[in-house]
Symmetry: C2
Subunit: 693 residues, 2 copies
């Protein structure tokens, strides 16, 4: 802890205070900082509290967090975590993403085509097994051995029932430790309530990652089992009052990824060959989508989910670049690396034990630079339709057919038996496909392919022939039948034979690029990922040897607990108070998007208690993936719903700075008041207050 | 020289050859590398040769190069340097940019609304005068003193006749030297011939900065004086055979800017706070324009000039980032700086003489970081309509009115008497304005303003009020009368009173942001530019003291001569031959844009000698701004027309690497053959062959 805090203070502390901000950390449930919490807050969680937290908290498999908030499977998450479901259910004239959705009774709760919930059942240390399998191996051998041991561990954990269980081997501490996470799956997840986009995301992109903030970024789902609401005795009871300033708060959720433990060698390569090019590509796509949406309401509806995601990602990339361009941060990173490197070579014994992983790491990064464009264009699919539904379905079908024919241990990880139910659910889901939008995304994407690889590249020739990207996109989209879920189901069920026999042009494209795409991926895995992992593992071991396992591992989209308190911060010398209230929302409204209130809120104004707290900030250490996480108190009751971080939180990917890094949450008091008085839903409000239907 | 070559070889040489590539340098006409040319090529230019080169070469004031190629004012430049003129003349259904333009007789030569040519008359060293004026001054005092001395020198040089003369004080060697450049102005410039965009820019963005290449990127203008073709006895006679491999070649033109002499302190700040954000903004605009152009032929016509410029700029930015992310380059830069810094502090005398400009430089960069967003949004105009015609006209009118009321020495440099004719010509020119396109650009731009400064920023509030960017853009564009050149002329002639009285919403916007915009500019100039200049001047002086003035100064969009030879290079171990020929063009054509040949070329195929060389590369050291430069031979005859560099030339902004940095030119043989046989213009072909009408 101390070491990382030193980094935070040296690198980024702006307040100049000598106070140690001790609320850092995204802790695993089997390694909680019991002593620190006791020392700083006089709080020691009992086993019952820990059990509750572990079982009431949820992961949304597609990349968010959530929690059970009633005994009848009611799930709280963010509106922006439900974008996919809301878009997919909006057939014909309906636009649930913009206009919201209300289920007045249980029969009105429609199934979300794609949502899968994961409830953490257990964590098992498997470091010894993984190390035994990969010991002494490098490159392709290491990739193969790791895949085989992961598959074996996961299959034995799932034990033949992949519909109920999901198991993942997780790399922690950059390879210092491996753990098997076992989850219960919920695949029948239904929509209960979503407010209008204009209140869920009030202030839009301009306010995103900012505070003061006035968003009701919530969606309620319900988990079903055997066609009935799930029985979920472990849930977070709603505290209808919300928290007070200074209250101790916990966030439990699934932070996606951080890179605090990485060396500057890897971070600088990531910046130059990954973040900077990615930032430009996302920006280009943003401009394109902005203009596409100006075409009208239909075009807005078609593109808004992607546009939101892109705008959010751009702010994140921008935040990363700020930190990675911060001189003192860079300086500190370099020194930290140099100090460990020196320690590792200070004695002949250490030199023999650790070797020189730093040079290996550097070589792997250089190789990554050479491969990155082709990897991004072909394997990530940026040059062949990555952002459209049709190519993604085609690739999944082509890959799944080939992979399912192999033994589990030899498959690409996404297609192992343990993961197949989620893949199948997604590829067969009945989501709307918009031809003009698909063609736009495909034409743009094929243009990027030609631009990035060059007009003379053989793959570009093969994909485009003598056509322009626009012509080719038109043929692909108008000729494909993959918009029909029945066609996709047929191809899934038909396996390799059906794929080979298919004359669908999108399937043909996915087949056409698959060989090279797999080759690029294999080169990337064998020559970049494997040596990077191996080097990082050696470095991580040296760090454990020197410092002990006193800290938390980088985030891995697995369950983590963060502790902290409700507290504002200072911005340019001015204090930012931790709460906003309903009255501020009405003051901020302008009548023009994205500051236009929905009718429901305009009408309800006179009925509302305008002093109700709306959003608040705390110094809990979170990151992307924590969206939808509950904020809970010492009693294990829900007091808020995480939906964002402030602008300073973006640097949290690389370093936590407690002086200004803040998590942003909706207050439970606002949720109950809005559900009852704005949306007139006593049934839902009562379920929240009582904890059951 | 040696030192810089060392850099090139250490940092970027890929061939691994030990050969010293000695063709580096963009030399000023008063400091030519006579000795090197003699040693390497056995060539010594006589005074007549130098005089010819100086007077036949031209600068296009808006940012390109050109040359006289007949005694009757015929000017050769690039098609892409004439984009502005071609777009502006395309009223109604005409689209000269796409379809080309042919003047069959003199009466058919229409005046380009905006083009100004500059012919270099003389260069005078004014280092002593400038140093005397700025000596011991810092910050705002320095800015003021420098502006005053520049104004005085320029006014005395123009001597009351700004219609004929243009004078600029130029900073050379990063402040090591100052020189006064005196030019003869040509403002009556008419269009003679332009080919179709599809042959001028065959291969489009995919082939841009690549080779082999097949472009006829040419436009011929004619300079007029008193309504008649100008009398221009100093011109480059056309060599209708073009050059051979290995021939010595010279490029004379106006390279815009290089940063080879800057320290890593400034380069890294430039990368992080200027290039990376700029790269993202340009990418976003590119995506937006791509989708806008998909709206139809009209939209394509409206946006193609900007789209071309943006795509080109993006490749340039990308090339910069490659070099600035190259480990060995960075390492070498750091070492170079450290060595000079050490030399400067090695004795008490030197410490006293030079002080510590490095720390000052670093401080100035940090301040630049704080100011950069507001500077870009307001003073550059990115957030208030920078890319539209209307805001630019409004800003120029508002600024010009205020500035013209001040003494010359106190004005912003662009509005000094010496520059006013060019400003006036541009603001009064009759160019088409497309309302839907203007609104698109403005709405996008205002969105950037709000996004960058935040929705709570007072300036954002003032500009947008309670409107969305789209609503505000609609009011601004539909309400403005500035599309009418008569209205603009009235406002120019009316000066400050007319501007104050105007109710035009675009004028109102320009007035509204002017105070803050000027303030940001002033802060930037006083706190960033002035200390940076002062520090660089001190560093440059130390470098002169240590190394002597053995090298050439960084490019400054003034006349430079580069010498070299026609030569290919090795790409991934394979030789790239220096010439392409007509037959290769026909082989590369696909029928789909941007590889679709215009009808004229399809029809002419059987008549052409397909072995005619089309484009070629040489190792002349050029950079953006050199577009349109003639390639000449030892006899002072034109053998080619520069229009591009290869992809390796982009790093030339920071370092010249002779092993693979190549200039790309159209062969004069191709120009004559095409004019005669594809376009059937014996009049023009004869003028090129004979050197006169």
């Amino acid at each position: 802890m101390k070491q990382m805090l030193g980094l935070a203070l040296a690198g980024l502390c702006v307040a100049g205070s000598g106070a140690v901000m001790a609320d850092e950390g995204m802790w695993t449930m089997d390694h909680l900082p019991i002593k620190q919490m006791q020392q700083q807050y006089g709080f020691t969680p009992g086993q019952q509290w820990i059990d509750l937290v572990q079982h009431a908290a949820l992961r949304l498999a597609e990349g968010c967090s959530g929690s059970f908030v009633s005994a009848n499977g009611l799930v709280m998450t963010n509106h922006h975590c439900a974008n996919g479901c809301l878009s997919q259910l909006s057939k014909g004239h309906a636009d649930y993403m913009s206009n919201g959705y209300i289920a007045l009774k249980q029969d009105d709760e429609p199934k979300c085509p794609d949502v899968e919930l994961n409830q953490l059942e257990s964590i098992t240390d498997v470091t010894a097994q993984v190390n035994a399998a990969t010991n002494g191996k490098a490159g392709a051998d290491r990739v193969k051995a790791e895949r085989a041991v992961d598959s074996k561990l996961e299959q034995s954990c799932v034990n033949g029932d992949a519909k109920t269980w999901r198991c993942d081997v997780i790399t922690l501490y950059n390879g210092g430790r491996y753990a098997l996470y076992k989850y219960r799956r919920y695949q029948d997840v239904r929509l209960v309530f979503a407010p209008e986009q204009s209140i869920a995301f009030f202030g839009g992109d301009p306010d995103n990652f900012n505070f003061p903030r006035y968003d009701l970024d919530v969606t309620f789902f319900r988990a079903y089992v055997d066609g009935k609401p799930a029985n979920t005795p472990q849930y977070f009871k709603f505290d209808t009052q919300g928290p007070k300033a200074g209250d101790m708060t916990f966030v439990v959720g699934n932070p996606g990824s951080t890179r605090r433990g990485l060396s500057w060698i890897e971070l600088s390569a990531t910046r130059d060959f990954n973040i900077v090019p990615g930032y430009a590509i996302l920006s280009e796509l943003r401009g394109m989508l902005w203009q596409y949406a100006r075409g009208g309401e239909q075009q807005t509806k078609e593109s808004q989910e992607l546009q939101f995601g892109i705008e959010n990602a751009i702010k994140v990339y921008n935040g990363w670049l700020q930190t990675l361009g911060d001189d003192s941060f860079v300086q500190h990173k370099r020194e930290q690396d140099a100090s460990l490197r020196q320690w590792m070579t200070a004695t002949p014994e250490r030199r023999a034990k650790y070797g020189d992983p730093w040079t290996e790491l550097d070589k792997a990064q250089q190789r990554g630079k050479d491969l990155s464009t082709r990897f991004m264009m072909l394997e990530r699919g940026l040059g062949v339709g990555q952002f459209g539904e049709l190519f993604n379905d085609a690739r999944t079908l082509v890959r799944a057919a080939a992979e399912r024919a192999k033994p589990d241990a030899e498959r690409l990880p996404a297609y192992r038996d343990a993961n197949l139910p989620a893949v199948q659910q997604q590829v067969e889901s009945d989501v709307p496909v918009y031809p003009a939008y698909e063609q736009t995304l495909m034409a743009w994407s094929l243009g990027k392919l030609r631009q990035s690889l060059g007009a003379d590249d053989p793959t570009v020739h093969e994909v485009l022939g003598k056509d322009s990207p626009e012509q080719r996109a038109q043929q692909l989209v108008s000729g494909s039948k993959l918009a029909d879920p029945a066609v996709r189901k047929q191809l899934w069920d038909g396996g390799e034979k059906a794929i080979e026999a298919s004359s669908d042009p999108m399937i043909a494209l996915a087949r056409q690029v698959d060989t090279e795409s797999r080759q690029v991926r294999k080169s990337y895995e064998d020559d970049v990922v494997a040596p990077t992992d191996k080097a990082n593992e050696a470095i991580a071991k040296a760090r454990f040897d020197r410092d002990g396992m006193s800290s938390y591992p980088d985030a891995t989209f697995t369950m983590r607990l963060s502790y902290g308190k409700v507290v504002g911060w200072n911005e340019n010398g001015k204090p930012v108070p931790p709460f906003t209230h309903f009255d501020g929302l009405y003051k901020r409204a302008t009548g023009a998007d994205p500051f236009k209130l929905p009718d429901s809120w305009v009408k309800a104004q006179s009925k509302l208690d305008l002093s109700t707290p709306m959003d608040f900030v705390s110094d809990n250490d979170i990151i992307g993936g924590n969206s939808g996480s509950p904020v809970i108190n010492r009693e294990g009751h829900a007091v808020g719903l995480i939906f964002d971080g402030n602008i300073h939180s973006l640097g949290g990917d690389f370093v936590y700075d407690g002086s200004n890094n803040r998590a942003v949450a909706v207050d439970t008091a606002a949720l109950v008041e809005a559900v009852r008085k704005v949306y007139n839903l006593p049934r839902l409000a009562d379920e929240l207050s009582n904890g059951h239907l």
